[in-house]
């Protein structure tokens, strides 16, 4: 589903974020991307949905070469990938409902379908009562779950979660992980970036360990 061949990303001023990474994530897998802060986890995820282009190397996502993807094909790639951003990227001047609705509009989903889908997703993340709230007024954990629901709006084949448990207490973190596993069971390939190694070992899933942009080890 996701393949990288000798991928490097060097930011201006010689900042090496990702260095010579080769990896293969199968369709339907659940994979952790772990490593300390600044290891290059976010950068690696951004390379997958072509928010950044690699300095060198090739990246295949769902059979498409992301590096040589034409601008006109970019929307299709992005629609097949749901992203939970590290900083959530929620619009703080819209309701929770409108934040999800934005995706439905971009996708051109009919109004009735989108209403049902938003309802179902908010229920799944336990936020149905908060649909008309402004994310600004929600707790960090609640905002996190809004971000998850939004990432699932497009029924993505791939879900990229960047620190989805970042500022949650351990119990809530486990809830979120359970949610992601469920999504994975329903067939979505899930990649979770986290610096929380304990969580990784507790979950017992495949993990790719990054350090200073390099792939250090793989555990199962």
């Amino acid at each position: 589903m996701i393949q990288m061949f000798h991928v490097s990303k060097i930011y201006p001023k010689e900042v090496v974020a990702v260095s010579d990474i080769t990896l293969h994530i199968q369709r339907g897998e659940f994979v952790f991307l772990s490593g300390p802060s600044g290891a290059g986890k976010t950068t690696l995820l951004r390379l997958i949905f072509r928010d950044e282009l690699p300095t060198s190397g090739q990246i295949l996502v769902n059979g498409r070469n992301v590096v040589r993807l034409r601008e006109s094909k970019l929307p299709a790639l992005r629609r097949s990938i749901g992203v939970i951003f590290q900083d959530f990227k929620l619009l703080m001047d819209r309701t929770v409902y409108d934040n999800l609705h934005l995706v439905a509009r971009v996708l051109g989903v009919p109004e009735a379908v989108s209403r049902r889908k938003i309802g179902r997703l908010l229920k799944e993340v336990g936020l149905l009562q908060k649909a008309d709230e402004i994310p600004y007024k929600l707790s960090g954990g609640e905002q996190q779950r809004v971000a998850i629901a939004r990432a699932l709006m497009s029924d993505p084949a791939i879900l990229l979660a960047d620190e989805p448990t970042g500022n949650l207490d351990p119990d809530l973190a486990l809830d979120v992980m359970r949610l992601l596993i469920e999504v994975n069971i329903r067939g979505t390939t899930v990649v979770v970036a986290t610096h929380n190694r304990r969580l990784v070992s507790e979950m017992g899933q495949r993990a790719l360990i990054l350090k200073q942009g390099r792939l250090m080890e793989e555990t199962h």
């Binding site: 949905f49 928010d51 601008e71 006109s72 970019l74 929307p75 299709a76 790639l77 992005r78 629609r79 992203v83 951003f85 990227k89 619009l91 934005l102 995706v103 509009r105 971009v106 996708l107 051109g108 989903v109 009919p110 109004e111 939004r150 709006m153 497009s154």
Partner: protein
């Protein structure tokens, strides 16, 4: 799907409008002013142009005759006038006809003539001049030679005025084009700036839309429509104001100087083609302005 798209376009455009608030109002206002100024020039130039052309046609050379002139002298004079190379057409207007014409012109104010016991108006020959002789100097020479003729009281020719007015119209036309161009470019920048602010105000939303798979055109088209609408609306508003101003001015003139401004051919508003053209140009400027903004500020 198509319906959703259209709805999206409408929603987004209106959203931009609402979000834009005073910025959008100011933008439309500025465009309105620009088109009002330019439109005023256009209207004045067109009307003055028609009037001058009409005058040039009507008011060429008038040869006033002495009251003592005999019918034989009139016939003789007519022959001589018709013999002139520059003269295309000779029309005799008797004293009675002159008075009748005058009465017609001042319809409604015939009381002005009540005190008159005798007809004060002279008989005249009205000459139409060949196009190639229609210059102030040629007509001046003609007037001098006509004045020497028997039975001629005076010769009047408006060519100098016609020439002056023609060059005035010319100057106004050029001035109008220059001012129009300057204000047009200004309008373009104003729209570009308003759209730039709209892009900034919605930067986060636009980023999210791109990240969840919105195409470039999906994001750009509503913004460009927004600018187009601002331009078109500004121009249409200017057109409306221009019409009101125009009517008010005519009414004012008609009340203060009925003798001059009673003619029906005087005071024509812009034709449909011009009106559509003005709104079209406004919309086009808006479109180009927003396109520039979108191209510059929506990179990546």
């Amino acid at each position: 799907m198509v319906w959703e798209r259209l709805r999206h376009l409408l929603d987004e455009t209106l959203l931009n409008f609402r979000r834009g608030g005073w910025g959008v109002v100011a933008s439309i206002g500025a465009i309105t002013v620009a088109f009002l100024v330019t439109g005023t020039f256009l209207l004045l130039t067109l009307n003055l142009g028609t009037v001058v052309a009409q005058w040039a046609e009507d008011f060429q050379v008038i040869v006033f005759l002495t009251d003592a002139i005999t019918p034989e002298q009139v016939t003789l004079l007519r022959k001589r006038l018709e013999g002139e190379l520059a003269v295309r057409e000779v029309t005799y207007v008797s004293r009675e006809e002159a008075l009748a014409d005058f009465r017609k012109q001042i319809r409604g104010q015939e009381s002005l003539l009540e005190g008159l016991k005798t007809n004060p108006l002279p008989a005249s020959f009205q000459l139409r001049i060949q196009k190639q002789h229609q210059t102030a100097t040629a007509l001046g020479q003609l007037a001098v030679s006509l004045r020497r003729m028997e039975g001629v009281e005076d010769v009047l020719y408006g060519q100098e005025w016609v020439d002056r007015l023609t060059s005035l119209v010319q100057v106004m036309k050029i001035l109008g084009i220059v001012i129009g161009a300057v204000l047009g470019i200004a309008s373009l920048f104003i729209v570009a700036n308003t759209i730039r602010l709209a892009v900034y105000a919605r930067a986060q939303e636009i980023e999210i839309m791109r990240l969840v798979g919105a195409s470039r055109s999906y994001i750009q088209i509503p913004l460009i429509l927004d600018g187009t609408l601002q331009g078109g609306l500004g121009a249409a508003l200017a057109l409306g104001m221009l019409y009101v101003l125009f009517r008010a001015t005519l009414w004012q003139l008609g009340a203060s100087a009925p003798l001059i401004f009673s003619g029906a051919e005087l005071g024509r508003f812009l034709d449909v083609e011009y009106r559509m053209g003005i709104v079209g140009v406004g919309a086009l400027l808006g479109a180009v302005g927003s396109l520039v903004a979108v191209r510059r500020f929506l990179r990546a």
